[in-house]
């Protein structure tokens, strides 16, 4: 601060009261504060924030001759055509690529038997058959947990009961294999209706605990009843669709493709329930917001029970198929471990999505059946994956995208709210309410000015003003004075004459016509120069306090 001086240019002409040199502030540019306030302090991502779609060439406006699911008019792929003014051509985008992923995935699964190494063929194909059945079970389970939001853990109880009943009937009455799934479906219907009753009354996971107990009940009942093969660990000897005369490889292949077909049927059922009316009704009534659905008159409770019963029928069907596939059923289907593994399959994939059920089943069955040589460690690995998914991912593997987007949106909004203070005086809420939007900008500009002017106020400048309130001033003082003189009339300091040439007092103008100025202080100044300086000091103090 020391060392800067200001030379009064009027000194040369001998103006009265002009000192040759006065100490002053070093020069600080007013552009600095402008630049500092206006720059963006946020970290911008190098990648754009818009979604990225690949653009295919083509017209894309063939709205009549499209690939459709015969006999409906539903499109296979959602393709949108737009005109791009930059390349002067039309182009197509595939808006929803999920059908493509599904088709590729299912084709891969269908062609999988061709790519298994020969030594693993037996394990891999039986594992594949198990995968198909479990995937079907999990899809129905996903309908109950995801769509209907009923946390039921009794799925395997239904499947097991249907399996045991059909096995018993097949052994006792010699029923052929094609009668087993429908009978299983009937068993599933009865069982499902019975356990749907508590589902109406109990909340979320209270019902889960109840069904856990039901599972245990079934296990103990079947375990201790001689008729259901307590001596042999299960029932064996039911009729199967796999022709016994075919070769080993042929049997495995038929089993695999039959289970694959079962999984496709389950996918179809999932689509029919979830994608159509029942699913839409239930999407209106998610877990904690049922009051909204109730207020609009939607009978979501009935929809939930309907989904539950449809799912139970399907599970019974799968139970019958299970018997037909494996020629019997063991008690291990009721064990807690099976339920845990099934839950692991759902959770790893992500609750609420069909692809989650399929991929989760794939992961768990791979570890459980293919890596069976690892012993109990494989289940530890599955448990560890399940724990990791539950701790870190909000909704399983297929929820990663949504979780990442939600996190990114949160960070964006936090940064946006810190950016709101661009040195402005107005908060976003105030700014939206302001009638004249120009005041928002004016206030911001005013704030910047005041910040700059605060840096100009120094003892040297005040001393300079005291020595000559009127006349040529240095730049910092001149800026201050011009700012003060520009202020609106409301509450502006002025000097009132008490006695001409002898006594002056500082008052504050009211700014309104007809209202007298108010006295600011009692002090009486003896000359105009002192009065000017007094006014200057008050204005400087107000500036510093604002």
């Amino acid at each position: 601060m020391s060392g800067s001086t200001w030379r009064n240019p009027l000194f040369i002409w001998g103006a009265k009261g002009a000192a040759e040199e006065l100490p002053s502030n070093p020069h600080s540019s007013h552009q600095d504060i402008w630049r500092k306030t206006r720059e963006s302090k946020t970290k911008l991502l190098p990648v754009g924030r818009l979604r990225y779609y690949y653009k295919w060439p083509g017209h894309g406006s063939r709205t009549w001759r499209r690939l459709r699911y015969w006999p409906t008019r539903r499109r296979v792929l959602h393709i949108r055509g737009e005109y791009n003014p930059k390349i002067l051509r039309r182009e197509k985008t595939i808006v929803d690529k999920r059908p493509i992923w599904w088709v590729l995935g299912l084709l891969a699964l269908a062609a999988a038997p061709l790519f298994t190494p020969l030594d693993l063929q037996n394990t891999a194909m039986t594992a594949g058959a198990t995968f198909g059945i479990y995937a079907a079970i999990n899809l129905c389970w996903m309908l109950v947990i995801g769509t209907a939001s009923i946390y039921s853990l009794a799925t395997y109880a239904i499947v097991g009961t249907a399996a045991f009943c059909t096995a018993w009937l097949s052994i006792k009455l010699g029923l052929p294999w094609w009668m087993l799934p429908p009978i299983g479906a009937a068993v599933g219907l009865i069982f499902g209706t019975i356990i749907a009753l508590p589902a109406t009354r109990l909340d979320g996971f209270y019902y889960a605990l109840l069904t856990l107990g039901l599972n245990e009940l079934c296990r103990v009942y079947f375990l201790t009843s001689k008729e259901f093969g307590s001596a042999t660990g299960g029932l064996y000897g039911a009729d199967t669709y796999v022709p016994q005369g075919a070769s080993q490889l042929g049997q495995l292949l038929i089993g695999y493709y039959a289970c694959f077909a079962l999984m496709l049927l389950a996918l179809l059922l999932y689509r029919l329930v979830n994608g159509r009316r029942l699913g839409r009704i239930l999407r209106m009534a998610p877990e904690k917001r049922e009051a909204f659905a109730e207020a609009t008159g939607v009978n979501f409770r009935q929809a939930r029970i309907r989904v539950f019963i449809i799912s139970s029928v399907a599970l019974g069907f799968i139970g019958g198929f299970y018997t037909a596939n494996f020629r019997g059923v063991a008690f291990s289907i009721f064990s807690f471990e099976t339920v845990l593994l099934g839950l692991a399959m759902l959770v790893i994939g992500g609750i609420g999505r069909a692809e989650g059920a399929v991929v989760g089943t794939l992961v768990v069955v791979f570890f459980d059946k293919v890596l069976i040589s690892l012993g109990p460690i494989r289940l530890i690995i599955i448990g560890a994956i399940m724990l990791g998914v539950v701790l870190y991912l909000r909704n399983g593997l297929f929820g990663i995208k949504a979780q990442f987007r939600a996190w990114r949106d949160k960070k964006k909004s936090e940064r946006r709210s810190t950016r709101a203070e661009k040195g402005g005086e107005m908060l976003p809420e105030e700014a939206t309410e302001a009638h004249d939007k120009d005041t928002v900008y004016w206030r911001r500009y005013d704030k910047m000015q005041r910040d700059y002017l605060k840096t100009l106020v120094t003892p040297e400048v005040i001393e300079e003003h005291r020595s000559s309130p009127l006349g040529q001033h240095s730049e910092p003082l001149e800026r201050l004075l011009l700012y003060f003189r520009r202020q609106p009339q409301v509450d502006k300091y002025a000097i009132t004459v008490v006695e001409p040439f002898k006594a002056y007092r500082i008052v504050a103008l009211s700014g309104h016509r007809g209202v007298a100025p108010r006295v600011v202080e009692d002090k009486v100044y003896a000359s105009t120069a002192e009065a000017y300086h007094g006014v200057f000091l008050r204005r400087v103090q107000d500036l510093l306090e604002s």
């Binding site: 996971f205 245990e216 909000r394």
Partner: protein
Amino acid sequence: MDVWFVVSNAIVLASIYGTLAIGISITWSSLGLVNLSYGFVFAFAGYGAWLVAQHVSPWGPAVLVAGILAGALAGTIVCALAFIPIHDKPNFTVRGLIATLAINLIGTQSLLWWFGPRSKSLPEIFGNWKVHLGGIVLTADKIGNVLTSIIMLVAVLKWMQSSRRGLEIRAMMMNPHAASIVGIGVRRTGFYVMAITGGLAGLASVLLSQTYYIAPFGGLTPMIKGVSIALCGGLGSVRGAVIAAILLGLNEALTTVLIGGRYVLITQFLFIIAILLIRPRGIAGILDRAREA
């Protein structure tokens, strides 16, 4: 068919399962976590007691204490893995449930892998004496079981009423937001709660292993029974759990006498479903009428 034999059996079982049920109730109401990893805690405590019996001393109380401590240790492990990381994240209830199930899976499988599938047995804790009361013969382990579980339960409940940590736990049960304002750390109290309920489960495990052997999956049935009792009694209330334990124990005894042991579970679940249909929140819904939301 010795009626009193059956009844006394039922009382013993009810008191042991009631311990588990109270643990589940306390955990739910103070932490908001449904702890389904008791299968693991049970087996862990059993194996801990067995190790102490093998390598340190087969003296009864030592084995008991070892079981309780091992249970508490398992409880703190579960807390560290399933409660601490996600207790303030969204969807905590379901995620916590699944996390405890995952820990159950990992834990029981590790125990299976480490100790092998053959079951182990514990030495007799209470000795071999008998008491003749009227026409009934009460063996030492029955009396010991009932007395020990009742004494432990009463001790724990009294501790919760009178001590500082107990006050913190109860405060957190009622209003976690205000508890943190008053300086009660959620995570530290969570460890206390899980350690205590783990200890209770360990006690139940050691007591039960007088009748059943210690196996890696031996904890599943008691856990499911305990969960059903807690559910029937109302998940947040200790009194409800006690009442439900007594009722279900009586139910079990009556069914075994009248219909046959196979149908015990069926009648139990019919009873539970009936209660839940009348009172969707369990028996304790009747008891706490004076409480405001």
